[in-house]
Subunit: 227 residues, 4 copies
Amino acid sequence: MGTGTTRKGGASARTVRAEGRWTRRKDARPAELLAAALDLFVERGYAGTRLDDVASRAGVSKGTLYLYYSSKEELFKAVIREGLVPVYEHGERMVDAHSGSAEDLIRNLLRAWWEMIGATNLGGIPKLMIAESGNFPEVTRFYFDEVVSRGRKLVARAVRLGIESGEFRDLPVDQIVRLMLAPVMLMAVWRYSFAFCDTTPLDPDSYLKLHVDVLLNGLRATEPALA
Amino acid sequence: MGTGTTRKGGASARTVRAEGRWTRRKDARPAELLAAALDLFVERGYAGTRLDDVASRAGVSKGTLYLYYSSKEELFKAVIREGLVPVYEHGERMVDAHSGSAEDLIRNLLRAWWEMIGATNLGGIPKLMIAESGNFPEVTRFYFDEVVSRGRKLVARAVRLGIESGEFRDLPVDQIVRLMLAPVMLMAVWRYSFAFCDTTPLDPDSYLKLHVDVLLNGLRATEPALA
Amino acid sequence: MGTGTTRKGGASARTVRAEGRWTRRKDARPAELLAAALDLFVERGYAGTRLDDVASRAGVSKGTLYLYYSSKEELFKAVIREGLVPVYEHGERMVDAHSGSAEDLIRNLLRAWWEMIGATNLGGIPKLMIAESGNFPEVTRFYFDEVVSRGRKLVARAVRLGIESGEFRDLPVDQIVRLMLAPVMLMAVWRYSFAFCDTTPLDPDSYLKLHVDVLLNGLRATEPALA
Amino acid sequence: MGTGTTRKGGASARTVRAEGRWTRRKDARPAELLAAALDLFVERGYAGTRLDDVASRAGVSKGTLYLYYSSKEELFKAVIREGLVPVYEHGERMVDAHSGSAEDLIRNLLRAWWEMIGATNLGGIPKLMIAESGNFPEVTRFYFDEVVSRGRKLVARAVRLGIESGEFRDLPVDQIVRLMLAPVMLMAVWRYSFAFCDTTPLDPDSYLKLHVDVLLNGLRATEPALA
DNA sequence: TATGAATGAGGATTCATTCAT
DNA sequence: TATGAATGAATCCTCATTCAT
């Protein structure tokens, strides 16, 4: 998987002779391993995943794993650490760069989250982290600080913008943030848990749209009749 | 451990049911076992839970577990099966008996869910089921059919009531149902995953109140400005 | 092995019904396991010994070992700890009780050491400890303090007796002690290392006799020529 | 490590042997490798020593080891084979060349053994061989024949000289030989096992002197009073 | 019904060995 | 000649399950 696509980027292929096959391989390995591990951890949980399976899904032998990660736990930590943080860094730049209505910003944020995380296999990480929180308190704390908290802060900035500009009513920001995130987060979790049972599956786009519409409508300040 | 004292309380039950002196005990055991198993499964996951620990938490020996459940998997299934179904039966009777506004019904349903499930240790079951869905497809299907689907239907009836009565706008019911459930469900999952990291914890009551307020406000039909 | 002989002690066999078969078994287990472990550790070294082999030599399964010793290292420690210490306690009582010439005491001590340790399979412990000293510093220290040091002190008391009574010349005691112990110790080590190569094996009794004769003769005070 | 300096000394050897520029190096490698291997084998035992560590201590990569020794076992054999044999050849020439009293010869032999073996890191070989005798019977036999037996024969010649010349009593030679060797041998073994625990360490020179004094005194023929 | 000793299959981890470069 | 990435057999250890009492 990763190998094929990587090779496409012919630019680097030009230097193949200089780097040697192994060099290219060695550089690609960690990413391949993490991808395989993520898939299996999400599907079967930490304990239910055999390193043998991770290895063979990544197309290497069991021993090779240990050249890159010194234990199953380290592999798990790497999956969590390397997973979402980069995406959130992107998100922060997005908010920094924004100019326009809070409403637009929120729409964009939630949509971006879905597109970059929820709809990709990174979306399995929240489920994984929920499942294993009890067994890895330190990793959980890392995830909470680096992902959950940052995500909340991101959205909180947008909400505060809206309140300050008068777009939204003045409601407790941290609660609003949770209300905003819950449906998207849960939809991601759902994909990796109950989706296969669900005979009336959701269309993510329209669900997302409805969520934002209803929520923003509920928040809107221009609502004299309802107060 | 708790066994001795429990037996005491069985004195009256013994005469009432006119059964052998072990009957009360026999009935009580599974409940104790299931409670212990639920707690541990939720905390550590299925694979991470040792039957030894379940047994000692329930105050019995490991062998005794096998008198009641023929395998770890059966114990797990029982935890799921006996857990939420009775509560949902209660919920159905609640909707059947309701007369009044859809708004009130929804308020009552969500509050009842929280009080009977979210705030008790039954609230761990959704987390557990999410975590183990990949390893137990059949149990997951059972849970989905008997719990998730029923819950959705329950809420769907209330939403439809509101639409029919003109309280709510005419929006896709199944999506609205999900929007309604997501925050409460996630709050329950949170209690068993990230809560211990969260330095700004939520007050469930005010959060629930806000959720219903904002959501119902967003749904309200009297909203000419938004069309 | 241990089982059969244990059963002989009919006195305890009388209470068999009361104790049950397992009880007797359970009590005997640690000793059986330690005996098997000692033999194999001595023969193959720590790393070269598989717990599987220890178990099957003791007539139990691999898992049973772990009911008594929580790891291979703990088993090793137990082998060392339970091995020689009791014998040395016996030796100390021997010196305490002694009255007579220092020469006799030394003869008795060395002979007793050989009979109780060197000639039994406890004699493998010094070899084992020498071989593994680098890998288990703490155990080595324990062994040194509880066995080596005590043994030296024991013999030192006897030597000092002889010097004080005028039987021996006044020579550095700690060096004399080492000279006294070296041949017996090495003979024990030899049994578990090179003995199988040695086509001219030693008769321990006559060797021991010669050692004591030559050594005591060398120490003797009535040696005008050497002063 | 030592490589650079060693290479320097090879300048003349290169021209003498008229071989490729790597020849000197090629010859040097095994010595470096054997030295590294000896140190680690002695410290940790055969099984406890990783070839990775041997390689890095010798300053080469793991693969390089295999250019010189086809397996770990071959490396071990080489360590034993190349270790003491040359020294014993030297010892034999020493006895051949000797003229003088048996007493002097024995003093010289034991002192030479200590200086060339016991006090150097070759002294670890006896410990190593004791520890691994059970796992390498063939190597043990080699060692026994080429080292132990030769050493005994060497000393036996000296003892017989003394008996024939009337210096010593007529006692069983093979046992006397063992008595002679035991303290020095054990002192060497000690350095690599319990020395680090020993708070009252031995001065090898005075110990050796005392040993020879007491032993030879014990052997002396002019002892009418003691018979 | 209750116990807990015993079992052994399963999986994480290590490390000697190979081999493409 | 030298490297070090890759391999997989070997072994420790865990824990669900059994069964004699």
